[in-house]
């Protein structure tokens, strides 16, 4: 299979859906002529033209509001918010408008849109351009929240998001854009709400999302090679809907749970999953679940500082080893 980058997968995913359906339109800052700040939309303007790929002013509220109005009345917009940190500027739409319109109208209105954004740390951008905001979104009833870790998942989950009748927040990890993976030719459509077991194992379950997935995989290889611990790595992929079946199934098999989150520790998605496992599978556990997170601090800019706050393969190895071998 040919390899492509995560960045090119974004372009291919959007192009696939725009080719399939004329109602799919795309808007954001610098996305058209300039091809996006992360170059994740290069060529779309040339391919689909100025009516379907539109540059907007620096108006995050207008971008998301317009996406909503268009979605309510028949289009399927994909809106780009350049950095996920800027969700705070247009959070009204994310928290109050998209997710509540269907419920408040007793099912009359719909909001089939996708908000794509560059999420996460690793680029030394500092505290206002590096956050992982999945937890901001996950807590809101009415939204779906997806964060792929590989090029093939980018295309498949983006297609699923565009075809989904609910508003979907699609979090692309900035540090993954240059990474490569195998992608088959032809149309790719995945399913939301499905976790993927990327590495089967017997001794412990490691749950990870986005950038933490390759780190968890690397940690699992080292745990096996250096400590004889055989870990199952599950890519959660979608926080809402959440595939608890796969997660609980894995815990039932390994009896140990580790979550790896690129988030400030407080109220992270890992806490929610730990609570579900404690509620529903407590007797499957042979030891306390362990959350590996960033500390509860804003993200620092310097590489030496940023590198130590994000969970690393070393930290994952260490946490699993200490928990299993004392």
């Amino acid at each position: 299979m040919p390899e492509i980058t995560y960045r090119d997968a974004v372009i291919r995913g959007i192009a696939q859906e725009m080719t399939r359906d004329n109602d799919v339109v795309f808007l954001g800052e610098d996305v058209a002529k300039a091809g996006g700040v992360f170059k994740a939309t290069v060529g779309l303007y040339e391919q689909f033209g100025p009516l379907r790929v539109r540059d907007t002013p620096i108006s995050e509220q207008a971008i998301l509001g317009a996406a909503m109005g268009a979605a309510m009345t028949g289009l399927k917009p994909i809106a780009e918010i350049m950095f996920s940190d800027f969700f705070a500027v247009c959070f009204d739409y994310i928290a109050n408008e998209f997710p509540k319109s269907r419920y408040m109208s007793n099912g009359q209105t719909k909001c089939p849109l996708v908000v794509r954004t560059g999420n996460g740390a690793g680029s030394r951008f500092g505290a206002q351009h590096s956050q992982s905001v999945e937890n901001w979104c996950m807590m809101i009833p009415g939204l779906k929240v997806v964060a792929p870790s590989s090029p093939v998942d980018v295309i498949g989950l983006l297609a699923a998001a565009v075809r989904d009748p609910d508003p979907v927040i699609f979090l692309e990890h900035k540090s993954l854009y240059p990474t490569k993976g195998e992608v088959p030719d032809g149309e790719i459509v995945d399913r939301l709400g499905t976790a993927k077991i990327l590495r089967p194992g017997r001794d412990a379950t490691i749950l990870a999302l986005a950038l933490m997935v390759p780190r968890a995989l690397e940690a699992a290889e080292r745990l096996k090679a250096e400590h004889g611990i055989d870990c199952e790595v599950v890519d959660v992929r979608s926080l809402v809907p959440l595939d608890t079946q796969t997660i609980l199934g894995s815990v039932a098999k390994t009896h140990r749970l580790f979550t790896v989150e690129e988030n400030p520790r407080l109220c992270g998605w890992g806490a929610e999953i730990v609570s579900i496992v404690a509620d529903e599978a407590f007797y499957d556990l042979d030891g306390p679940p362990v959350r590996i997170t960033t500390p509860h601090i804003p993200l620092p800019a310097a590489d030496i500082l940023e590198d130590i706050v994000l969970p690393t393969p070393e930290r994952i190895v260490d946490a699993v080893r200490r928990s299993l071998q004392g």
Binding site: L51, P57, S59, A62, G69, T73, E97, D166, P241
Partner: protein
């Protein structure tokens, strides 16, 4: 203002300007009165503890909602605020559906899931009332963008108050609509107050909407929002411009709310005599006189009055008799599959 001129032209036998026609005039009168009576009733029902929560009445502002709605065509879309009863009724949603929602009954527009501040009726083009100030201006842009993209001829009309012009989304939406030349009409109902503070105390320009229009290369339009004919003609012009692909309009309609901001507000902050002065220019009073000037008989007017009162009485009784919503709707329609499940 265009008002004085229009009123002069409207005098019968003076080369009068009856482009509106009797049928439309009677419809405009009926609609304003329906809003007045329904809102007055909502207030009475609140005093009887039958309307709960909050509600924001448009008593005194009926001409704006009516004039803009009567100039709309089927398929045009309205976006309103928490003060949206008037706009919703003006698009033809029944009094029973609106009162039912205010009374939290199962016959309400959203069966009690929306409430006073969240009226939606897609079938009537009422695309929701938004309780976060200014949120709906960008949303209206999006609906207008769809019309532009698909070659549909409908116009999106977005109502909001003077206080809303100081929120970021207002300015983002105006610029966005202007650069994309969207078929959207923004209607600021300047009733002189935000919640309790006079708009002039917190705004750098005297006309909070119109004085900003130039920033978005739009025409400065201020109209008499208490004269439904003026409103109607202004709306027609703006819609025609939008349908012709000539872009958005921003209209500031001067009006006044007779009641407080919400049902909890006795409006003590108003200077003495202000309300009385505006009541002389009550839109319904103005319109009743207008009808007479155009030769409509007292009898016809009295019939409409009686009709509307009966409609509101019947709706009230129907709502009183209606059951409360069943609890099983609590968890419906969070997601498009009809349910609320976020995990398997």
């Amino acid at each position: 203002m265009a008002t004085a001129q229009n009123r002069a032209q409207a005098v019968p036998g003076s080369g009068l300007n009856d482009d509106i026609g009797e049928d439309k005039r009677l419809a405009i009168y009926r609609s304003q009165l329906r809003i007045r009576e329904a809102e007055q009733r909502a207030y009475d029902l609140f005093l009887q503890n039958l309307v709960k929560g909050t509600s924001h009445l448009s008593l005194g502002q009926e001409a704006v909602a009516t004039g803009f709605a009567e100039a709309m065509q089927k398929g045009d879309l309205s976006f309103c605020t928490y003060r949206g009863h008037a706009h919703t009724l003006a698009r033809g949603v029944s009094v029973e559906k609106v009162l039912g929602e205010l009374m939290q009954r199962d016959n309400g527009l959203m069966r009690g899931k929306g409430g006073s501040m969240h009226l939606t009726s897609e079938a009537h083009g009422v695309m929701g009332s938004y309780a976060i100030i200014g949120a709906h201006l960008p949303i209206a842009c999006g609906a207008a963008w769809r019309a532009q993209y698909k070659g549909d001829k409908d116009v999106s009309v977005c109502f909001f108050g003077d206080g809303t012009t100081n929120i970021g989304a207002f300015h983002e939406a105006l610029n966005f609509a202007a650069v994309w030349k969207l078929p959207v009409v923004f209607v600021c109902e300047n009733n002189l107050y935000m919640e309790y503070t006079p708009i002039g105390d917190v705004t750098a320009v005297p006309h909070p909407a119109a004085d900003r229009a130039a920033s978005y290369s739009l025409e400065r339009i201020v109209i008499d929002g208490n004269d439904a004919d003026v409103v109607y003609r202004t709306a027609q012009k703006a819609y025609a411009k939008a349908r012709a692909g000539e872009g958005p309009s921003l209209i500031e309609a001067l009006t006044y709310r007779h009641s407080g901001h919400s049902r909890a507000d006795p409006a003590k902050y108003r200077p003495e005599g202000e309300l009385e002065k505006w009541k002389e220019r009550d839109p319904i009073k103005i319109y009743r006189e207008r009808l007479k000037q155009f030769g409509v008989s007292d009898k016809v007017i009295a019939e409409i009055d009686a009709d509307v009162r009966k409609e509101v009485d019947d709706a009230t009784e129907a709502c009183k008799a209606a059951p409360m919503p069943p609890l099983d709707i609590l968890t419906t329609d969070v997601y498009a599959d009809g349910g609320w499940a976020w995990r398997n």
